[in-house]
Amino acid sequence: MNAIEVTNLSKSFKIPHDRKTGLKSVLLGFLHGSSGSDTFHALKNVDLQVKKGEFLGITGPNGAGKSTLLKLLAGVLQPDTGKIQINGKLSPFLELGLGFNGELTAEENIYIYGTILGLTRRQIKNRFQEIITFAGLEKFVHTKLKNFSSGMLARLAFSIAIQVDADILLVDEVLAVGDEAFQKKCYEVFKKFKKEGKTVILVSHDKQIIKKFSDRVITFKDGKI
């Protein structure tokens, strides 16, 4: 059985010539009868099957539709046409550390992000020590996040993210942050995921990383594979 099945998927965005967030500009635009926007086809009739346990790498230039595909799979965007079928629990990592708040402590933020990712309070409590140790932040549990360096933030976010019990993982350019040591840790986690038979979709510009891990690589160009 396929973990992900995408058939004939299309998505387009309207790109206004001028930013119309104000009521006035929308009303004026309406009165003057100007359409004032272009349609951008981010994805054009995409078909894609991902097998269970497969590690799929996606590359391609900016604006080719990689992130749009991930957002559609994650359910953040709704497709114009086409169907997406997902078998299993899916966890998207389009950005690490969602919901992090600088005014709260590391401990409080672990609960926020963990909950957003679908962990229960008890699960977070049980794995709390593991998260802190993996991130190497034992001394900073009660420090407000605004006093963290960006490296510390990335480590904390990643340590929480890997606690998620999902069958399918969507990963978008997460490796762009962090130093070499941190990236190495990430690779090890990827290897572990692979061993555990999880389905992973990894999006990156870095063709070397993609080639190293992926069972299959697809390249996007102008909204097509």
């Binding site: 104000g22 009521l23 957002k71 994650a74 953040v76 389009l94 709260l104 909950t115 229960t120």
Partner: protein, 252 residues
């Protein structure tokens, strides 16, 4: 999935609550002080400078302010809460209603504290509970769901048009004065009284006053109207919000 829903609501409310009062010396007391200060000022003006012929005017006024404050904070906080989560909305899916529900729980908690303070005032004035008090539960529920329904509509639209927030603030200002909060309805010429039946907040404030202070008029018609407005606003709000929520990620 349903436990995800409740976990997230709890976590978001908790976070909202912590952030609202973090770092301020008086902490949670601020949520009590705000309506009390408004009350103090208005009480000074309208019971000493200009007098209304209302028995226990301070209770009459405080109760109106407490109810109005919940309605206005509920809508304003929800708009702010959804807007501040723009980035999360773009990156992960969760049922979007959670944001507004969580925000309303936080505001509702503040409302309960305010109501508690009102009870203390009541106690010291010597006004006791009576048989009508059981109606309070009905009006609290109506207030909550009307506010939730309005919060849905406003916070969704505000994400698309940021003007909505400004317009709504002006509207709340006007609403505060055209709703009988600081003055009794009896001050208004009788021929206009029917127009007030169009204002759900008037009906609710009147209901609170009737159930706790034995003032004002509550009839089967006003109870029915209150319930009617509550259902219409809540259902309409939920439908609009759910329909628009598919577009949130594209708007923000």
């Amino acid at each position: 999935m349903s436990s995800y829903y409740t976990n997230l609501i709890r976590q978001f409310s908790l976070t909202d609550f912590k952030l609202k009062y973090h770092g301020s010396v008086l902490g949670y007391l601020w949520s009590l002080l705000n309506p009390l200060l408004i009350f103090g000022t208005l009480y000074l003006v309208f019971s000493i400078f200009m007098r209304f012929d209302v028995e226990n005017y301070h209770l009459f006024l405080l109760l109106g302010i407490v109810v109005w404050t919940f309605f206005s904070e509920s809508t304003l906080n929800s708009m702010q809460s959804l807007y501040s989560k723009s980035n999360i909305l773009k990156k992960i899916y969760f049922p979007r209603t959670i944001v507004v529900i969580a925000s309303n729980f936080t505001t509702f908690f503040g409302f309960l504290l305010n109501l508690f303070v009102f009870f203390i005032f009541m106690f010291f004035t010597g006004v006791g509970f009576s048989l009508q008090t059981f109606l309070l539960l009905f009006y609290v529920l109506c207030l909550f769901f009307i506010s939730l329904g309005m919060s849905y509509i406003l916070s969704a639209l505000n994400l698309r048009f940021l003007d909505i927030g400004h317009i709504w603030r002006i509207f709340l200002q006007i609403g505060f004065w055209i709703t009988p909060i600081i003055y009794p309805l009896s001050l208004i010429p009788e021929q206009y009284h029917n127009y007030f039946l169009l204002n759900p907040l008037y009906l609710i404030i009147e209901g609170f006053r009737y159930s706790l202070l034995g003032m004002g008029t509550v009839t089967l018609l006003t109870i029915f109207l209150t319930l009617f407005y509550t259902i219409v606003i809540f259902v309409l709000g939920t439908l609009i919000y759910k329909k628009l929520s598919y577009k949130f990620a594209e708007w923000v």
